[in-house]
């Protein structure tokens, strides 16, 4: 290996690492606020990427029907809850189950946008409401279940979403048009505009999330919920609001990641799972609790992956996933007291 190849691999690793970083952020966010280990995070990536590809080939993405079905089902569930005397947050329900899905349908079926910006907007409108809708239908009835049960639920949901992904998008992979075709030659190394877009958007999202959690009242409420769920509820922060929001953010981050990566990698209906899992490896490096460590972990995963694809490409997945063994081993050395599971 010469320096040139090494630099190329580093560049590749950083770009992929940025995507894993976004995954890891979403996973840490959802886990700390709702205790859900959100295995289906990667499905949002695949859905967004494949929906964008469908739009660019002039077809409205069929997965819209899934969104509409989720919305209808949610409305039905909320109506039943209302009839049974439960307190229903209709404002949120209207936003997630009526307004955004209606806008998505309008954009995808009627407007059928040609400009890339509007296409991006349409895909976001399509994918983001799925987060809170899935939360309400799948996780909210189990709000008091153990982390373990919630994890099994996540895996079941992952299967459902992958299967539906296959149904709506088919088995063929797709790539989308790059956001930037620019290329620069820096010291004998080619840097593509698309990879700068990926890094730039990732940095922007990370900074935006930082300000959201540090400065905004809603962000602070989410943080409070993450630290002490019962305490936050007693202070008047509704559990369902934090659930809606964290899943919406997770879906948003997933969709953005999908849009970013689709021009660089061919995405299949089941690609998202592997991307999401690598985000998990990164998040586990940070103990599923620390954002900065998760970012560092993501970079590590990206670099490890790009270098192992050079040396042992058939085993690159094995090498990346095996990374968690030494990480967990190191963490387990520092625990000698037992705590009961929640």
């Amino acid at each position: 290996m010469d320096l040139q190849i090494a630099l190329l691999l580093v560049q590749d690793g950083i770009v992929n690492g940025a995507i894993y970083a976004l995954m890891a952020l979403a996973l840490v966010l959802v886990f700390s606020v709702t205790r859900v280990i959100f295995i289906p995070q990667g499905e949002f990536v695949a859905y967004a990427a494949l929906a964008m590809a469908a739009l660019q080939s002039g077809k409205p993405p069929a997965v819209l029907w899934m969104l509409l079905a989720l919305a209808a089902l949610t409305l039905l569930v909320e109506a039943v809850r209302q009839a049974r005397g439960a307190e229903v947050d209709w404002k949120g329900t209207v936003v997630w189950a009526v307004l955004l899905p209606a806008l998505a349908a309008l954009m995808l079926l009627v407007v059928q946008p040609q400009s890339m910006l509007l296409q991006v907007l349409s895909v976001l409108l399509l994918v983001v409401p799925m987060g809170p809708l899935v939360y309400r239908l799948v996780y909210r009835p189990l709000a008091h279940a153990t982390v373990l049960i919630l994890l099994i639920v996540s895996v079941a949901l992952h299967l459902v979403m992958v299967g539906l992904g296959l149904f709506f998008f088919g088995a063929e992979g797709s790539r989308t048009a790059a956001f930037s075709e620019a290329r620069w030659d820096v010291g004998g190394m080619t840097i593509s505009g698309q990879s700068l877009v990926i890094l730039g958007v990732t940095a922007l999202l990370v900074v935006a999330m930082f300000f959201f959690f540090e400065r905004s009242i809603v962000g602070k409420a989410l943080r409070a919920t993450a630290i002490n769920r019962v305490g936050a509820r007693l202070m008047g922060i509704p559990t369902s609001l934090s659930g809606d929001l964290s899943f919406a953010l997770a879906a948003l981050i997933g969709a953005v990641s999908g849009l970013l990566i689709a021009p660089v990698t061919t995405i299949y209906y089941d690609t998202g799972f592997l991307i999401g899992l690598k985000g998990f490896v990164a998040a586990i490096v940070g103990g599923l609790g620390s954002y900065p460590l998760a970012l560092a972990g993501a970079l590590l995963v990206g670099l490890l992956e790009s270098f192992s694809s050079f040396w042992a490409s058939a085993f690159k997945e094995v090498i990346v996933f095996t990374l968690i063994i030494p990480v967990l081993w190191w963490r387990s050395l520092n625990t000698h007291h037992v705590e009961d599971e929640e």
């Binding site: 373990l148 079941a156 997945e317 000698h336």
Partner: protein, 603 residues
């Protein structure tokens, strides 16, 4: 009619019709048996032990590939040249079990000391990785796999036909269920049942919960490996597909849908999922007009529905429906003292220092919860720790029982420095305790709960329990538990589930559990809370008697009358600092204590 009769009837029926079933049904039943074997391991892991694994298919794969490689590879043939061909599958079985045990042990040792979700995440990574390893190793045939695996042979009888092999499969499955049933009904079984909701409590009873969890995980993996070994010799061909992550998830579905808390739920779940998959693979492509792995959508939805609506699975529903004619097992045997002797502890002489805290300080970030607390508890003495709410009593209690480490200072038990030691080490030295928030296994009987307290005094392990070689010791443990229950006045409720007792009585059950361990020192966290007046009197009488027998007793309590009448010495904490120390009379006269309890400026 009892469940055992039903099981025997089920086996007899299967045996009677076995010869007449059509070949397709026999093959299907073979698969159900193989899947059940994996699922029953998952029931132990998930429903009983509170852990889970998505990677069982990979362990099945290890079992299958190990024997496939031994039986087909020229290198293996070179190594085993001297052995007859018929012995190869048995070498394959041993290799598969050894490799599986090693992998499972490493995975478990790395993840199971951490919180519960790391093991399942680890098994996802493991399940994915192994698939790629199998697929990319040319010596294992890559993605095309290995073929030409010979059938099993037993005493010259070929097990090539599913009709013959099926008997072996189901015999092994039933044997496994019998052994697991025995295991759950033993000293080790009580410890295993505590893993799900009572790890902290079990550690305080001297159970090494991390080790138990690792053993349980290895056991489940070994069952999967045996299933894989049989699978390879039934199919006579292996490739990576049946061992990938999706199948691993399916195994978990079988356990959860069937009923993850019940061994037979595994068989029910394996049967249902296998039959359903069969039908779905037939119907879905026709319905959707396209082929693909769509049954996962149905499985996923089914799983979501079961977890939301019937989280204990279908087996309990079935058990409920049959309750009218199917009597559960006879009420627990009345324990009789067996021949076996439990470990006995020599109590220290009266007045000897048993527990000693020196300058114990605990800081949580900026907050000082305990500030240089000194205290000692002596044999044949009741020592009370009192103080207003938030004085730091619970924090201190945690540090002298091994639940937490002091930031500074030293805790000595029986003269030994306990820094960094887990609470089971405290139990080993003779510390018995109760919990402020009662920690009992609510669904288990009072007797079962109390018997867990005597865990350390028995020694029969997993294998002895599975083979029923532990009955003498088990009888002695139960007899000891019964003795403590009677002593605490709970004999009438010995066989009722602990959760059905009023809270006050549950606290007494905790005391009985601690006594079953024959402690030298007893730590009681608010034992009188929730007791009625007469119950308090009998508790005081019990503690007085225990003191006379030579126990050292430390009580944290809010009931002043109870404390003042009982305690020999009292330590008073306020804002994490000792403000008074002495006999009840001295403490009651101390102006700082009066100020702390009644408010107002002191001094």
């Amino acid at each position: 009619m009892k469940p055992l009769h039903l099981v025997i009837g089920f086996i007899a029926l299967l045996a009677a019709v076995w010869g007449y079933l059509p070949p397709f049904t026999v093959t299907l039943l073979c698969y159900i048996g193989l899947y059940s074997m994996v699922a029953v391991g998952l029931v132990m892991l998930t429903g009983v032990g509170g852990m889970t694994s998505f990677g069982q298919a990979a362990f099945v794969g290890l079992g299958a590939y190990a024997t496939a490689w031994i039986c087909t590879s020229p290198q293996a043939a070179e190594l085993l040249g001297a052995l007859p061909k018929g012995a190869y599958p048995w070498v394959g079985l041993l290799l598969g079990l050894a490799v599986t045990a090693l992998v499972a042990w490493v995975l478990g040792a790395v993840t199971l000391r951490l919180s519960g979700h790391y093991l399942p995440l680890g098994t996802i990574a493991w399940g994915l990785s192994l698939y790629y390893v199998f697929g990319n190793l040319q010596s294992l045939g890559g993605f095309t796999g290995l073929s030409g695996i010979p059938p099993l042979e037993l005493f010259g009888l070929s097990l090539a036909s599913p009709r013959v092999l099926g008997v072996v499969i189901w015999a092994l499955l039933l044997l496994a269920i019998w052994a697991l049933h025995n295991l759950l009904d033993s000293r080790e079984g009580r410890a295993i049942r505590a893993l799900k909701t009572g790890r902290l409590m079990a550690e305080s009873m001297g159970v090494d919960t991390a080790q138990q969890r690792i053993k349980l995980f290895v056991l489940a993996a070994l069952l999967a490996a045996v299933s894989g070994w049989l699978y390879a010799h039934m199919q006579r061909f292996v490739n990576p597909t049946p061992f990938n992550l999706n199948i691993g998830i399916e195994y978990l579905f079988m356990a959860v849908v069937g009923g993850s808390g019940h061994l037979w739920g595994a068989v029910l779940g394996a049967t249902l999922i296998t039959l359903l998959k069969e039908q779905l693979q037939d119907w879905l492509p026709r319905l959707l007009g396209t082929t693909g792995n769509f049954e996962i959508v149905v499985f996923g939805l089914l799983m979501l529905l079961v977890l939301q609506r019937a989280s204990t699975g279908l087996w309990p529903l079935l058990a409920n429906a049959t309750r009218s004619w199917l009597r559960p097992d006879a009420p627990a045997r009345q324990p009789v003292g067996g021949a076996a002797q439990l470990d006995q502890r020599q109590l220290p002489p009266a007045g000897q220092q048993v527990l000693e805290a020196r300058k114990v300080t605990k800081r949580f970030a900026g907050l000082v919860a305990n500030n240089a607390v000194d205290m000692d508890v002596r044999a044949s003495e009741v020592h009370a720790l009192i103080g207003p709410n938030g004085a730091g009593k619970s924090t201190f209690f945690n540090m002298i029982s091994g639940v937490d480490d002091p930031t500074e200072g030293q805790v000595r038990l029986m003269g030994q420095d306990m820094r960094g030691k887990p609470s089971r080490a405290f139990a080993a030295l003779g510390l018995g305790r109760t919990f402020q928030h009662v920690r009992l296994l609510g669904e288990r009987s009072v007797l079962d709960n109390v018997a867990l307290g005597a865990h350390r005094r028995g020694h029969k392990g997993w294998v002895a329990s599975m083979l029923r070689l532990d009955r003498g010791e088990e009888a002695a443990v139960l007899a000891e538990a019964m003795r403590q229950i009677e002593r605490c006045g709970l004999a009438e409720v010995a066989h009722t589930p602990a959760a059905s007792l009023p809270l006050g009585q549950q606290r007494i059950v905790e005391i009985a559990r601690a006594l079953a361990g024959q402690p030298a020192i007893l730590l009681l966290d608010e034992p009188a809370a929730g007791l009625r007046h007469l119950e308090k009197q009998s508790l005081a009488a019990l503690l007085t008697q225990l003191r006379a027998e030579g126990l050292a007793i430390l009580v944290v309590e809010h009931d002043m009358e109870f404390v003042m009448n009982l305690a020999d010495r009292i330590t008073v904490l306020e804002f994490g600092t000792v403000i008074a120390h002495g006999t009840p009379a001295e403490v009651q006269a101390d102006p700082r204590v009066i100020a702390a309890y009644l408010g107002g400026d002191m001094l």
